[in-house]
Symmetry: C2
Subunit: 200 residues, 2 copies
DNA sequence: TTTTTAATATACCGATTGGTATATTTGTGT
DNA sequence: ACACAAATATACCAATCGGTATATTAAAAA
């Protein structure tokens, strides 16, 4: 009874055209008719390519997260020093590239996490995985920077990574709900300070 | 055609028994039958005391926020120095008092803000108000501390207030979704450091 | 105790929800 | 051009959605 999507092309099309919808309105707030309206497809077509609504939402979440991660990973790989790699985060979140992204509903980790933490264990696990990966990648950069003698050896690696993420997510929340970009920028300034503080 | 609730007592009862429901499952995720089930009242009774579902949710949000604010304001008023007033936040969020609160769905500002920012302008405005008030109260404490020569005169007041809030909200998000309290505690440690850093 | 009023319960409404079985169309290989 | 398969559209389902008009009960006033 395993489900096999009929058309990988259509499946991808559905994911791409509904991803921002789920990110903006949430899982419970997005209906099947929202999906048919956005894709101009019928329910039959959507259910031919997805098991159910949750399956579409999950794929949309993964797509949104991958988009975000690609953007950041690319910039980080381009950075030469570990310092520059860390600085990619406060830089990119202040950039127009990311503000376009923020206009499509904000961070999928934050949006999905807040909705799912008390309501949907499957989604909560996915978000936890995304958060853990992000934190791990930051920790690896900090470790690398310590070994390369860019960062202080006594740096509290885990705490630093957590605080950077918290500041970014908190800043995104503040600026998105108040529609005031200054609040994100101020949070990002503090992220930069944290990075400065661990730098030799 | 203004709506007049029939029984202020019942109205309050409905608010109190459904407040955590809305905070956990969100506005879209909470149905009228969730409300009748939780209150053991019928729909007629609920619609006799509220205009509609949104009206219940709004009252529930205000209740949740007031509960949170009361707890914090009380502790802050008890604190003698401005330093201690600021320190109330990282202290209380790490305490068992607040963890009980977090178990009822987390911060209503965060939950409601994330759901509403792209979906419900009325709620978004309410959250913005709550955030603005919070920020303002922090700024007032910092100002007071500067005048009382507890904090450095060159302190960036707005940025400091924003970063403290962002760290707390980000930390709550991280620990709630990953179910790992360490992530909140690490964020709160950084809040303490920020307070230390502006202290003379 | 009776009358009046206030508040809750019952029963229903049309619309929409997520989901499915089947008919129709589209594309592909021969 | 034809047959076959792949994919989408149509039409429908029971259940639930938010909401309302009315009946019933509980409380207060007389």
């Amino acid at each position: 009874m395993t489900f096999i999507p009929r058309s990988e092309k259509t499946r991808q099309f559905i994911i791409e055209t509904t991803a921002s919808l789920f990110n903006k309105k949430g899982y419970a707030g997005t209906s099947m008719s929202d999906l048919t309206e956005a894709t101009k497809l019928t329910k039959g077509s959507i259910y031919g390519n997805f098991e159910n609504k949750e399956d579409v939402a999950l794929a949309a979440f993964e797509y949104n997260l991958a988009q975000r991660n690609q953007l950041i990973t690319k910039k980080m790989n381009e950075a030469k020093s570990y310092y520059d790699k860390l600085m990619v985060l406060p830089m990119i979140y202040a950039s127009s590239e990311m503000s376009i992204f923020l206009e499509e509903g904000g961070c999928p980790l934050l949006n999905t996490g807040i909705e799912a933490d008390d309501a949907n264990e499957l989604f909560r696990i996915q978000v936890t995985e995304g958060v853990t990966n992000w934190k791990q990648s930051l920790e690896n950069i900090i470790k690398g920077g310590i070994e390369a003698q860019e960062f202080k050896a006594e740096t509290e690696i885990s705490k630093t990574a957590t605080s950077i993420i918290a500041l970014i997510q908190g800043g995104v929340f503040l600026s998105k709900t108040t529609k005031n970009p200054l609040l994100l920028n101020q949070s990002l300034e503090t992220v930069k300070e944290i990075i400065q503080k661990i730098t030799l």
